[in-house]
């Protein structure tokens, strides 16, 4: 086994997340798929850091984690406010920015 296998796994997980973003309608599940893509990129970063023998990969994964947390907080707040006005969490329903 080689560390490249981890990167292949990360690529597969990323693709599944991307397909999920394309085929799902529920905004919250879309967000989960985006989280899956970010996690897959984190796995690739950590593996690259290990291959190169430096800790920079882990630091970058750390920053990705922070950005993902901020993104989730704001995104879920937007979903909440859309749900409050339109009574729906489906991305197909929200076709207007206001009302």
């Amino acid at each position: 086994m080689q560390p490249g296998y981890y990167v292949v796994l990360a690529a597969v997980l990323f693709t599944i997340g991307a397909v999920g973003v394309l085929i799902r309608r529920n905004a919250i599940v879309l967000f989960m798929c985006i989280e899956l893509m970010l996690n897959a990129s984190n796995l690739a970063l950590v593996t690259f850091g290990r291959i190169n023998g430096t800790l920079d990969g882990q630091i970058m994964a750390f920053f990705v984690m922070v950005v993902a947390a901020a993104e989730v907080v704001v995104g879920l707040a937007i979903i909440m406010s859309i749900f409050r006005t339109r009574r729906s969490a489906s991305v197909d329903e929200a076709n207007l920015l206001k009302y």
């Binding site: 597969v12 085929i23 704001v74 879920l76």
Partner: protein, 264 residues
Amino acid sequence: MTATLAVEAISTGEAWFFWILGPLAVLAAIGMVVARNAVHSALFLVLIMLCLGVFYVIQSGPFIGLAQIIVYTGAIMMLFLFVLMLVGRDAQDSLIEVLRGQRVAAILLGIGFAGLIATAFFRALRNVSATGLAAANSQGNVQGLAAIIFTRYIFAFEVTSALLITAATGAMILAHIERRKEQKTTQPDRMRARFLPGNYPGPKAGPGVYALSDSVATPARLPDGRQSERSVPPILPKRELTEIEAAPKGTASSFGGHGSTEGR
């Protein structure tokens, strides 16, 4: 790769972990995408994140692995579940395709993309062995991370704090409900509404308590024998009393016909 770099051999235990948890993560990811119920998706995502956390710990990153488990499965997924419970937990995804053929096209595209990128990585990294983090972690993983994060990445670290505080403020502004002053119901309004004709001002009766049933779904009986609608919460299915249950105890012929009256 220069000859001075050490080459870390991957142990059999790590291979076992990879071949067990890797397929598990992929299966959970597929389950997350195809699950109709959003709560199931969230639980599958928790499983994926735990698997990835174990991978980080195995790849000599104990700090990032624990941060993954604490921050992602602990905080972010709780936030997800919280919003799921607030916003449509029972909102099923519609099966109607807005763009015809989009689902099939997306799946084909995904398979193609995965095949391309995975084979590219596999061929590129097949013969690359890891240098390993033994040298970088010689002072300890957390110390090694801190030494880099507070020197080389100090600017990114500071910008992160600005990002976090902006996100927190933005979420507070977005989630805040502005209520106008004239929309607020005042206490005199509520009092007038309470004593308006058509509204019974007293407290509602409790549910019925009988020898055969003390369920909250059993309606209480009014003095004239009717069942009180107000004694049962509207979300509960009303439980009708059977003849035997409704009959005064000890007088009905269905009780064996003793005919003895009880001195209640």
